[in-house]
């Protein structure tokens, strides 16, 4: 019974890795589908489109980062789990929520922006910088969420 805190904390870490991971996978897939159509016409645009495709992939990394930070903080990664009260475990779970939720949605929305970017690259390949920048705007909010998650986690140490 007294290990529920740890369970909640691990649940948080898993959600942080899971949701943005799924979001990023969907996002990268969406952009990849759009990019595939362009590449079938003009394979030379591959490198430009690859960058666009990668953009929604970072949320998954942020989720992974949060999960690893947390798992090492609560000792799961070191092989020596700390005692966690129910309340502290819940706090860990809540601390994971910003990147878990924002990561998931921002990855998909960023992917949509990147898909329109694929259209830009298809028609005007020299304007790909603008396509990248517009898509990167969305990522700001994933970064902010990551920051809140890390700071919250850090204060729980």
């Amino acid at each position: 019974m007294n290990n529920y805190g740890l369970v909640l904390a691990i649940l948080g870490a898993i959600l942080a890795a899971l949701l943005p991971g799924i979001g990023s996978a969907r996002g990268v897939g969406m952009v990849g589908e759009a990019a595939g159509g362009v590449i079938s016409e003009d394979p030379s645009k591959f490198s430009k489109l690859l960058i666009l495709q990668l953009l929604p992939g970072t949320q998954g990394l942020y989720g992974l980062l949060t999960a690893v930070l947390e798992l090492s903080q609560i000792g799961i990664l070191g092989g020596d789990p700390v005692e966690l009260s129910l309340a502290r475990g819940l706090m860990y779970l809540i601390a994971c929520m910003p990147i878990a939720v924002v990561g998931y949605f921002s990855a998909i929305i960023q992917a949509r922006t990147a898909v329109t970017g694929v259209g830009i690259v298809a028609k005007k390949p020299d304007q790909n910088g603008k396509a990248i920048t517009m898509s990167a705007m969305v990522e700001t909010y994933a970064i902010l969420a990551l920051l809140v998650s890390i700071l919250a986690m850090n204060s729980l140490k």
């Binding site: 990668l54 953009l55 980062l65 920048t133 705007m137 902010l144 990551l146 890390i150």
Partner: protein, 659 residues
């Protein structure tokens, strides 16, 4: 420096010198042609020439594609960075004389490929015919066999799978009187039976009618040969097609060394096309012609001198009018020019803008390094770009971009060393896991993961400096325009307010010395008052003024708040690099056996770190751009200038070397 000063140029010369002067200008590559619009001048319509050159370019490009497809020259990825091939003027002129011969070679290549494609289609067609013929292979008489003296023969298919007696039964049901019929099943499948029916001539019509009623169909293809023979003939045909394809591929492969000629043609006709496009903008009279356009001031004298010494020309250089659409060309020193492509990606400076590259360069490298912040990755960047720049003759924007990564790499090494991150935490790990010693503190400043708050505040601090510099540029621009009061009132209250609020806000996160927060409080209050009093100065009405002041305060406060918070990405991306690198190293140390640990660590290191570096390079690049474009440029920069595009020999593959 920065934005080159542009001047108008007008060249009037004799019509006879037209071609020579245009070619000379093309070689200089410093004059952008404007369209001469005046009824007094005649224009040449060069569109037929241009489309003819385009056709030649397309032919050569098609030939190049064919060569790349069938006889690719293996080049390493790095070698493809090499710039254009240099050829001397003599060789160039020789090649010009041989251009028709070259072009004929291109046509040959294209015809070889056409033969290949036709034969490929023929193979597919024949294979379809072979598939259709397969079901008739058991037939030992020709497909179009009609019968003998006393018999009639029908060859065809009936639907559904049936036996001979099934078919005879069906016929009997349709026409009970019909006799003297012999049916052979050639092949049968679920959908259809191929049959040969032989009957006495006297009942041929009835048989035909009865067969029709049970669904008998004569196949559309019919031959005079026996199917097996026909099959052999098809196989021979395919063999022949394949041989022809081989032969033509061999011919193309034998012409692999034509690639230089083909590339020459593409460039040569591109140069001609450019020239004729420029020619269409030139105005003509009976004996003279006139060129109008723009030239950067620093090249003007050389251009005028050269033309005047060789031809009979009258050239006037004038300063453009205020409202003219003057093209923009950037020129900066070695430290600043690498970020020019970044500026161009956003937008070239408009008429009233300054070139932001100069103020941006330092911050660009600084932020890039702070976001990547791993000395190991930085060293790789510096070495990689330095080798590429030294070893290969890279030109144009790619050279600038590589230099940008070179300087950013240096900055990355600096910040990585400050934070003690060399390929993540590989140094402490080696100490702990293999030397069993307490790792030394290699961070010159501190490790961000131990005190992220400190780095967060540091990032905000850098952000404030960055934004203030942007505001200062705006101050200078407004001041130079003569609006000195506006310059001061737009800048000073904001500075005071932000500087005052900063220590108060920092107090939420860390403890700030008493004096600092007291000073901050008063600064903030003074700034606040000034903003409310002055922001609405444009309106006459006292209430509107006050309203404008409040609105201005809201804009400045919310704008600066969101802008400064945006710099938290410096911390977040920096942490991401280090932490993921740490995870990679951690994976390598999973086994307990030291030998296994060492092996796994090396493997994971070699796979994981390049991946992490690539993804974080992308992140650092994208978000450094964003901080410049959104936070920094919004303070002073508008953009929207038109790029200077002079008439020049715009070649892709060859560079003409002057002797």
């Amino acid at each position: 420096m920065a934005k080159l000063l542009m001047q108008r140029i007008e060249i009037i010369a004799l019509l006879n010198d037209r071609k020579k002067i245009l070619e000379h200008l093309q070689l200089l590559g410093v004059v952008e042609f404007s369209d001469v619009q005046n009824e007094a001048f005649v224009k040449v319509n060069t569109s037929s020439y241009i489309s003819q050159y385009e056709k030649c370019i397309n032919t050569a490009t098609a030939a190049k594609d064919i060569l790349n497809k069938y006889a690719p020259i293996k080049k390493s990825l790095l070698a493809s960075l090499n710039g254009r091939r240099e050829i001397g003027v003599g060789e160039f002129l020789d090649n010009v004389d041989k251009r028709d011969f070259f072009l004929q070679n291109c046509y040959d290549l294209i015809s070889y490929e056409r033969v290949i494609n036709e034969n490929r289609a023929a193979i597919v067609r024949t294979q379809t015919l072979m598939d259709a013929l397969k079901i008739w292979l058991n037939l030992d008489i020709p497909m179009n066999f009609k019968g003998t003296k006393y018999t009639q023969c029908f060859i065809g298919v009936v639907p559904n799978q049936r036996t001979v007696s099934d078919i005879l039964e069906a016929i009997a049901r349709v026409n009970p009187k019909l006799e003297m019929i012999e049916i052979d099943i050639i092949s049968s499948s679920k959908e259809q039976n191929c049959i040969a029916v032989v009957c006495h001539k006297s009942v041929a019509d009835e048989t035909n009618e009865a067969l029709r009623q049970i669904g008998f169909v004569v196949p559309s293809e019919s031959y005079e040969q026996i199917p097996a023979e026909k099959m052999q003939q098809y196989e021979k045909d395919i063999e022949k097609y394949k041989n022809e394809i081989e032969e033509n591929i061999k011919k193309i492969k034998a012409s692999a060394d034509l690639i230089n000629e083909v590339e020459f043609l593409i460039d040569y006709f591109s140069i001609r096309k450019e020239k004729y496009q420029a020619l269409s903008k030139v105005g003509l009279t009976k004996n003279t012609f006139i060129i109008r356009g723009y030239i950067p001031e620093k090249y003007a004298k050389k251009c005028v001198d050269e033309l005047e010494s060789k031809y009979t020309v009258a050239i006037s250089i004038t300063t453009p009018e205020e409202d003219e659409d003057v093209p923009v060309l950037l020129e900066n020193g070695d430290f600043v020019s690498p970020v020019e492509p970044i500026t161009e990606m956003f937008a070239l400076p408009a008429k009233k803008d300054i070139d932001p590259s100069a103020v941006m360069a330092f911050f660009y490298y600084l932020f890039f390094g702070l976001m990547l912040s791993d000395a190991g990755y930085g060293v790789l960047m510096v070495i990689g770009t330095a080798i590429a720049l030294k070893k290969f003759s890279i030109e144009g924007p790619l050279r600038k971009t590589l230099k940008m990564f070179f300087y950013s790499g240096i900055s990355t090494v600096f910040w990585g060393a400050m934070f003690g991150s060399w390929f993540g935490d590989i140094v402490p790990i080696i100490y702990k896991q293999f030397l069993h010693a307490e790792p030394p503190n290699i961070a010159l400043w501190f490790e961000p993961i131990t005190d992220p708050m400190k780095l967060l505040l540091f990032s905000f601090g850098l952000g404030i400096i960055h934004l203030f510099v942007g505001q200062a540029v705006s101050f200078k621009m407004t001041w130079d325009e003569g609006k000195k009061i506006d310059a001061v009132l737009d800048t000073v209250p904001t500075y005071l307010f932000v500087l005052g609020v900063a220590p108060l806000a920092a107090g939420i996160l860390i403890s700030v010395p008493e004096t600092l927060s007291t000073v901050g409080k008063y600064l903030a209050l003074i700034g606040l008052a000034l903003i409310i009093l002055t922001s609405g100065r444009k309106s006459k009405n006292i209430f509107a003024r006050f309203g404008g002041g409040i609105y201005g305060l809201y804009n400045i406060a919310s704008g600066y708040l969101s802008d400064i918070l945006s710099y938290s990405r410096l911390l977040a991306l920096g942490l991401a690099t280090g932490s993921i690198a740490g995870v990679i190293n951690l994976m390598g140390t999973m086994p307990t056996d030291p030998a296994a640990k060492a092996v796994l660590l090396v493997v994971v290191f070699l796979i994981g770190h390049p991946l992490n570096m690539a993804i974080n390079l992308l992140g650092a690049y994208v978000h450094t751009n964003r901080l410049q474009f959104v936070e920094f440029f919004s303070k002073f920069y508008e953009g929207g200038g038109r790029a200077f595009s002079p008439l020049k020999a715009d070649t892709k593959y060859i560079k003409i070397k002057e002797n």
